[in-house]
Symmetry: C2
Subunit: 125 residues, 2 copies
């Protein structure tokens, strides 16, 4: 992948953006933030169009970056689940800001209800 970067922008902003610019990362982190922790299969169920291989790849990347931790509880049967690290939970502020801005984006994409006669149906003559 070509490096997407600008020498004119803040490196901190770009580091965070780089995480979200990869497919699924934002959805994975938000899902883990809501759930606290999830097993692989439960996480994948919440991300309908995502395959096992892609989820596995993304989770490994997020682990390498210190955002997600893979927790193994000794068995039998061995249980493995995934949760955000403290650094990963820092995504919460970004997520809240995205929600507020997204509300405006969605509102702008939805045509306003027709007014005309104040929204009332005309009485039949």
């Amino acid at each position: 992948m070509k490096l997407r970067r600008s020498d004119h922008l803040c490196p901190n902003f770009q580091a965070a953006l780089d995480i979200l610019a990869r497919p699924w990362n934002g959805l994975i982190m938000a899902t883990l933030a809501d759930a606290g922790s999830l097993r692989f299969s439960a996480l994948r169920e919440q991300l309908a169009a995502m395959g096992d291989r892609m989820l596995s790849l993304r989770l490994k990347e997020l682990e390498t970056r210190g955002l997600v931790e893979r927790r193994v509880s000794p068995g039998p049967p061995v249980k493995v689940d995934y949760a955000l690290t403290e650094l990963g939970r820092g995504f919460g502020d970004v997520s809240a800001a995205l929600g507020r801005w997204g509300q405006r984006v969605n509102a702008a994409a939805t045509p306003p209800p027709r007014r005309g006669n104040g929204g009332r149906r005309r009485p039949n003559p």
Copy 2:
């Protein structure tokens, strides 16, 4: 492109994330936010690895979503520049949150300086 979406997450959050999950969009908006307005060539110069075709495609998408406006000043020569709309400027809050989180992400990726002897070089014997 397959639809990346989760039925369990806030649609507003997902609408905003969807904008940033496309390559370059965050960098284009942040560059326009810093500069106020830019001509096509000046914008591309700040995004070194980006080709004309990709920039043109992204700008059209951002225009369609009401985030960027293309402004034409009558000539000759005709001048065209690009700026964020009011909705696009709403990205500012997201961008600030990304910067704060990215600072922590970058700090975690950088190994702390070695301590050992308090950072002082040992005097030569």
